[in-house]
Symmetry: C2
Subunit: 218 residues, 2 copies
Amino acid sequence: MWSRPQRAPRQTLTLDRIVEEALALLDEEGVGRLTMRRLAERLGTGSTTLYWHVKTKDDVLDLALDAIFQEVRVPRGETDAGGPGDDWRVRVRGLMRGWRAALLRHPWSATLLDRPLLGPNALERTEFLYQTLTAAGFGAPKAAAYSLSNYVMGSVIMQVTWEGRDETGTGAFLDEHAGRYPALAEHGLDHEWDTTFDEGLGYLLDGMARSRVPRNDA
Amino acid sequence: MWSRPQRAPRQTLTLDRIVEEALALLDEEGVGRLTMRRLAERLGTGSTTLYWHVKTKDDVLDLALDAIFQEVRVPRGETDAGGPGDDWRVRVRGLMRGWRAALLRHPWSATLLDRPLLGPNALERTEFLYQTLTAAGFGAPKAAAYSLSNYVMGSVIMQVTWEGRDETGTGAFLDEHAGRYPALAEHGLDHEWDTTFDEGLGYLLDGMARSRVPRNDA
DNA sequence: TACTTACTAGACCATCGATCCGGTCATCCG
DNA sequence: CGGATGACCGGATCGATGGTCTAGTAAGTA
């Protein structure tokens, strides 16, 4: 009885549906409101049932986090228009921008970024990053990849942390202590997140460019 | 009855003692094991008592997180030995390294980095960062400061996330899927955290240096 | 002495993640 | 066709948590 097709499961509730609904719940109400009971209720089932498909709640969170990375487009075919050997810059910047944008589209992800990104979608993007850097002539793609990911993660966490808050209270607080923190009070709370991100990313890319050993392009 | 001294409180339990013990508990057992009951028990009191000094558990966490920043030395007086106007680089790099080291000394902090750093210790360091950058001639110190902080935070989170884990399981997992992720599998899991951090920090600083408008130094 | 304030604790509440136990139902085997 | 198997489901329940209610006690003030 070789390759017997495994018994067709009833599939009324699948892991995919759980993840899908978890993402919706997360998007609508945030990570604090995601409980197994509430998730089960939205799926029209009991909380116990979820545990047949999933071992712990952390599994759901891991799955949901990795699902975000599915939205990140991998800039594979993009060849540069002219710049000599700057292909990798375009690709890496595109990946990092997409990475950041996807996480910002789901702000609850910021709280979950302290867990290892080992899902297939995240791994695929990381693999692409390694390959792009290696092809560009970086002897130590790991260091470069870490620096870039770290920067993206930190930027997302910082932005989500500050954007979600009621700034009036914090602003008043800063004004109140303007004597102690003059420079902070002077520059206020509003911030151009996108341009700052691109700026820092450019610095990182510039610095890396100098330390790479070009391969067979000029 | 001017300047009546406020009634001397009994002070058998103070906020300082609570924060101090919370830090010890956090260091010893991690953020997951910090409960109000356990903390109260260590302090020889009941959990209810803590709520007289503190509004919620989040307050304890905020306080503990800010307490970490107390360990970060502010490199105030450090004048450079010779480099023309590179003072700010030395100071900023010193601050960022100290920032990172303090957080790494308390790995539980990585999980809490998704909350605003508005404690007095954190604010004092941030204020110093703004002042140093402004004095160095940066027209937009906020963008520079954000880029730097983001990078530090991301680096800490990434390192803590990976260092705490049992790498053998992850290593086996990667080996198993080496076909799908060849570049990842090739470079393995071990990593030189310190040098990578300094490298990326150098890139950031280099890039910023180019965009600043020098003030009155050469 | 009467009163206010600082402080403490035990019992209690709602809720959570997770499990136990007892089912149901489609499918496969004989 | 009929029993057995295993995928799937859910109510009740467990232990633990954050937080509150209620009821106090000790120390100072008037």
